[in-house]
Amino acid sequence: MDGEALVQAVIGLGLGAEKREKADRPAVRVPADKLATAMKRLREDEALAFDMLLDHTAIDWLAAGTFELVYNLYSTVHGHYLMVAATVPRARPVVPTVSGLWDAAHWQEREVFDLFGVEYDGHPDLRRLFLEDDWQGFPLRKDYTDEDMLRLPK
């Protein structure tokens, strides 16, 4: 199915999904509390069958006070892509894990935890990935500072 039909099909699942604007590919936004059920449907629905989590990352919208979590899904059955976004507050960034649905999420979620400090509820092995276990702070947050960081010349 083409991009617009795919987005409409996902919205039609009745999971509170809405279209995410300003994306260059089919993209939906789901409420963070419905993320686990929505992802399960996307994985298991035969018409959608997103069996591959290509990529998971986060965007720090500092001015809005939110993290936007982005999941890029691909279906090897139907050959279509979908971007799923969910927004969580920066003050309390906790979302359910999707590591039970895609093995790749185990480490992609660990990377986001390591660099953004987003916590994944139910993740079996939530640890720092690249940085040491005693590292302070989360470097990819926009307000992260470090005594070794240099200022960008104006």
Binding site: D24, N72, W102, D103, L126, R128, F130, D133, L140, L152
Partner: protein, 387 residues
């Protein structure tokens, strides 16, 4: 909701571990970060029962340079430099991935000459990468001759790159809107000589290593990765194709000149180390086939369609672009706030990051020596994992 955050120490040394009444004991051994097969700095913590591996815990991060953080204060042309330093054996394809995304987002056109040269360069580099991988796999499994052969052929391709690009590893060649330089006058002649030389050499590789009983015993039916598992793990490239999933962006979403040339997507049937080995052997032949079809028909035209100094401003929005590197799908996720030419956020979905974790699924039950074969067959480049 409470989230439990662990450390590696919690796994390796649990505080109140019940001692087994039997005299055998499982223990943890570090493989790496300094180990000849790590090809960089990758630490694997092995949980061993005698010599049998029960679990593998990869600990990446020794080459983590914070490229994504750095990229937030660099413009698209400067980001090209960073991509050279991820998967350095696919530097040109990494350059291309960023260039292609930026061209699409900013509406920059290219011409057939640029796309043909890009395709040629990418295939030459895939060939170079696989040749080197073949040699290194031989060395990992105890055949040092293969290593010397692999480097010998790699050198010839490196010289072709050096003529045109002036660099051998960190290319910084493919730019948004074109190419850094036009091809060297000798490029076509040298590539043709390379093809004539390399065809019999690949056959020699087969007689030298592929048919060897020891190699076959160490690769066949070792480390089988089922197709569903490979997809779930997010594996791409030869690792996924060896498990029988024909996912190749060059065929599925043809970019560059891939839509106009004939080549086959090579897939395996079993998904063991041997399939991963043979898929790459066959991909070398396919790469040569692609180069052969394009080398005589490089169209005329300029090698750059924009002014080099021009600022590239990307409209507000999120963009995702990807292409097939020598090791799998490199995805670039770019977020622009439309306020400057710096990206608000850029994320590299690197093929090695996702391929690495296949080792946790396929290694348990095998011996330590098989871990060497399995890791070699995954063809990991560590800086691409850590970024």
């Amino acid at each position: 909701m409470s989230v439990q955050i662990k450390t590696l120490n919690d796994i390796v040394c649990p505080p109140d571990e019940a001692r087994s009444p039997l005299s055998t004991q499982e223990y943890f051994v570090n493989m790496g970060p300094q180990h000849p097969i790590a090809h960089g700095s990758l630490r694997l913590v092995l949980r061993l029962d005698g010599e049998t591996v029960r679990a593998v815990i990869p600990v990446p991060g020794f080459v983590h340079r914070g490229l994504e953080k750095m990229a937030e204060s660099l413009n698209p042309r400067q980001i090209i430099h960073l991509t050279d330093r991820m998967d350095y054996l696919s530097a040109l394809m990494n350059n291309w991935a960023v260039s292609r995304l930026v061209e699409r987002a900013a509406g920059i056109a290219t011409n057939d000459r640029i796309e043909t040269i890009r395709t040629l360069m990418a295939e030459l580099q895939r060939l170079q990468s696989h040749v080197l991988w073949w040699g290194v796999l031989g060395m990992d499994l105890g055949a040092f001759t293969a290593f010397l052969y692999g480097f010998r052929e790699r050198e010839i391709i490196s010289r072709i790159f050096e003529d045109t690009i002036g660099a051998r590893l960190t290319m910084n060649y493919i730019q948004p809107g074109g190419l850094m330089f036009d091809i060297h006058p000798d490029f076509v002649k040298k590539v043709k000589a390379l093809l004539a030389y390399l065809r019999p050499i690949i056959e020699e590789y087969e007689t030298l290593l592929s048919g060897n009983v020891i190699l076959q015993e160490r690769l066949r039916n070792v480390g089988i990765l089922a197709p569903e598992k490979a997809v779930s793990l997010g594996c791409t490239g030869p690792v996924l194709r060896a498990s029988g999933v024909p996912y190749d962006l060059r065929k599925l979403e043809p970019y560059g000149m891939y839509g106009k040339v004939e080549f086959d997507v090579v897939v395996g049937t079993v998904g063991d180390c041997w399939d991963r080995y043979y898929v790459r052997m066959e991909e070398m032949r396919q790469s040569m086939r692609i180069v052969e079809q394009l080398i005589d028909s490089i169209p005329e035209g300029p090698h750059m369609t924009t002014k080099f100094a021009a600022r590239i401003k990307i409209p507000e929005g999120t963009y995702y672009g990807h292409l097939e590197t020598a090791r799998g799908v490199l995805g670039i996720f770019l977020v622009s706030d439309g306020k400057s030419d710096l990206p608000y956020r850029i994320h590299f979905r690197s093929p090695n990051f996702n391929n690495l974790w296949a080792i946790t699924a396929i290694a348990p039950g095998w011996r330590i020596a098989d871990i060497i074969a399995i890791q070699s067959s995954l063809d990991l480049v560590i800086p691409d994992i850590d970024r």
